[in-house]
């Protein structure tokens, strides 16, 4: 088992972020992600990083904007209501093409809602949330280990495409402890190199000597023709991401599946338990778990809908959001059934089994 430690998701993702070279973190506390900000408060000074508890979520995301403009690995985190407050800043980050990582440890909504796990921010994360034509790469973890691993994946993706990346987690994954194994710390030299990859566009000290070129970080393009070019350029980047970065997990997907379930994050864990039980009773049910919820695995889901599949089930901790993407993928070939759970409640494997059994 090597060097596994038992840690909460909130702490594990913070540790993993530091190890992947994040030295700047700005946030404002909110349950159920407060262990993340606490961990950063404790650890950032030890690695000579900057932890700053901002006066508000809006301030925090704008500090992220500033730090990202310097080409540094920077992160913020919050839970649903706090993420809503950050939305203006996220749109600006996307508009200015700034790499940054944003973590949403989702809780029940709308409004202040409650502090229990939920997946009600799927639309906000994957379809906009902020204004304008932009996309976030959105990763949805399903275990503490995956939550931690996504920290470094997110920074790599953000740096590669110069886009903000969101990790769409939830209160259950934030609060739960599971064994986790970490990658090595990036060295100071490696972190410096990471910053330098952005020197052609970011704000940095004059190290070029004579003729040093000043870069500008801005999301305002007052000339419509210039803005059109900028947005079409963004579109090209998003297309590239859709082509290269779709990730999903297949669980018992085979040619003889009678049903296929689709679920992400925490919901997928519960669905796995339910279909394990049903398959032990002689059924053949598979699960597709989108790991990137944008870009979405439309093609990968479509591929699993062959002649034997009679029905697709979608399970979410909301009133039905990702189900719309599943319907696009299934494209009317078979009926798509939905079951949701709201209010911060989590369905049990028994409830899921009951839903599926109603169609046997």
């Amino acid at each position: 088992m090597g060097n596994k430690v038992l840690m909460k998701g909130n702490e594990a993702v913070a540790e993993a972020a530091i190890r992947s070279g994040c030295r700047l973190y700005f946030a404002y506390p909110i349950t159920p992600q407060s262990e993340l900000i606490e961990y950063m408060a404790k650890m950032m000074p030890k690695v000579k990083g900057t932890f700053l508890q901002a006066e508000s979520e809006v301030a925090a995301i704008n500090m992220v904007y500033g730090a990202a403009g310097m080409g540094k690995r920077v992160m913020t985190s919050s839970s649903s209501p706090g993420i809503s407050l950050k939305m203006e800043g996220i749109s600006y980050l996307a508009g200015a093409r700034l790499p940054a990582v944003i973590i949403n440890v989702q809780r029940g909504g709308p409004g202040l809602g409650d502090i229990q796990p939920a997946q009600g921010d799927y639309f906000q994360a994957t379809k906009g949330g902020g204004h304008g034509d932009y996309r976030l790469i959105v990763l949805a973890p399903s275990s503490v280990q995956e939550f931690a691993d996504m920290a470094s994946d997110s920074f790599d993706l953000a740096d590669k495409y110069r886009v903000p990346v969101m990790i769409l987690s939830d209160g259950l994954l934030g609060q739960m402890m599971e064994p986790v194994e970490f990658k090595e710390y990036k060295t100071d030299k490696e972190i410096e190199e990471l910053g330098k990859q952005h020197y052609d566009w970011c704000i940095h000290t004059n190290e070029d000597g004579k003729g040093h070129h000043h870069n500008e970080i801005n999301s305002l393009e007052i000339d419509p023709n210039v803005l059109e070019r900028h947005v079409l350029n963004l579109e090209q980047i998003y297309k590239e991401i859709e082509k290269n970065e779709v990730k999903h997990e297949e669980y018992n997907i085979n040619d003889n599946n009678e049903f296929v379930c689709v679920a992400f994050g925490t919901a997928a864990r519960i669905v796995k338990s339910a279909i394990d039980d049903l398959n032990a009773e002689g059924r053949n049910i598979g699960l597709i778990r989108p790991i990137t919820v944008w870009p979405y695995p439309y093609k990968e889901i479509a591929k699993t809908i062959h002649g034997n599949v009679k029905r697709v089930f979608v399970f979410e901790l909301n009133l039905g959001q990702m189900v719309e993407d599943v319907k696009l993928a299934v494209n009317g070939k078979v009926p798509v059934e939905f079951m949701g759970k709201v209010g911060g409640l989590v369905f049990t494997p028994e409830e899921i089994k009951e839903k599926i059994k109603a169609y046997l």
């Binding site: 088992m1 409650d114 502090i115 402890m177 599971e178 064994p179 494997p349």
Partner: protein, 178 residues
């Protein structure tokens, strides 16, 4: 093999810590584990509880609806989770704070005055360790040695006295369950 457990009591009794020590020890023994606390606005005197799963294979749902093992450190915990314990399961009851114990058929009970015993050992804080001792004796989820090693590395330099009391409490629990 998969064991699902719920440990519950009011805040401060150490129910969540029972889960943490069992999960940590099981992890050291090479098992897959998950530890999922209730983190809501629990009422004073209510049921601060944790769901723990220990398994040889990957753990799918960390949410436990029907536990194999349940520890009730107070009456509301017994009332809330007692009925959902699986047949042939184990329920550990703190007699001092559970005046009404209605035993179900086909479920193994260990009913003991944990508050009283922990005071006799010398510290209220080790109450939860007695419950862990009972679980160690009654099941094969974790070994005494694993937990003892873990506690020793954690407490030896910080509080050797408390370490001794903890180990005594675990052994006392094991005796009770025999």
């Amino acid at each position: 093999m998969k064991s699902e457990m719920i440990f519950s009591g009011f805040g401060g009794q150490g129910a969540l810590a029972i889960g943490k020590f069992i999960a940590q020890s099981a992890m050291s023994e090479g098992k897959n584990v998950s530890w999922l606390p209730s983190y809501g606005p629990e009422m004073r005197g209510g049921t601060a509880n944790v769901s723990v799963v220990v398994s040889d294979t990957e753990i799918a749902s960390p949410v436990v609806s029907f536990p194999h093992i349940m520890v009730a450190l107070n009456q509301p915990s017994l009332d809330k989770f007692g009925p959902s314990v699986k047949a042939n399961g184990l329920i550990v009851v703190n007699e001092d704070l559970c005046p009404n114990v209605v035993k179900r058929d086909g479920v193994d009970y260990v009913v003991a005055p944990l508050n009283k015993i922990s005071k006799e050992i010398g510290d209220d804080k080790v109450l939860n360790m007695i419950a862990i001792g009972i679980i160690i004796e009654k099941t094969n989820i974790i070994k005494y040695d694993t937990l003892a090693d873990h506690l020793t590395s954690f407490l030896k330099d910080r509080n050797a006295e408390l370490l001794a009391l903890n180990l005594e409490a675990i052994k006392k629990g094991m005796e009770l369950a025999r």
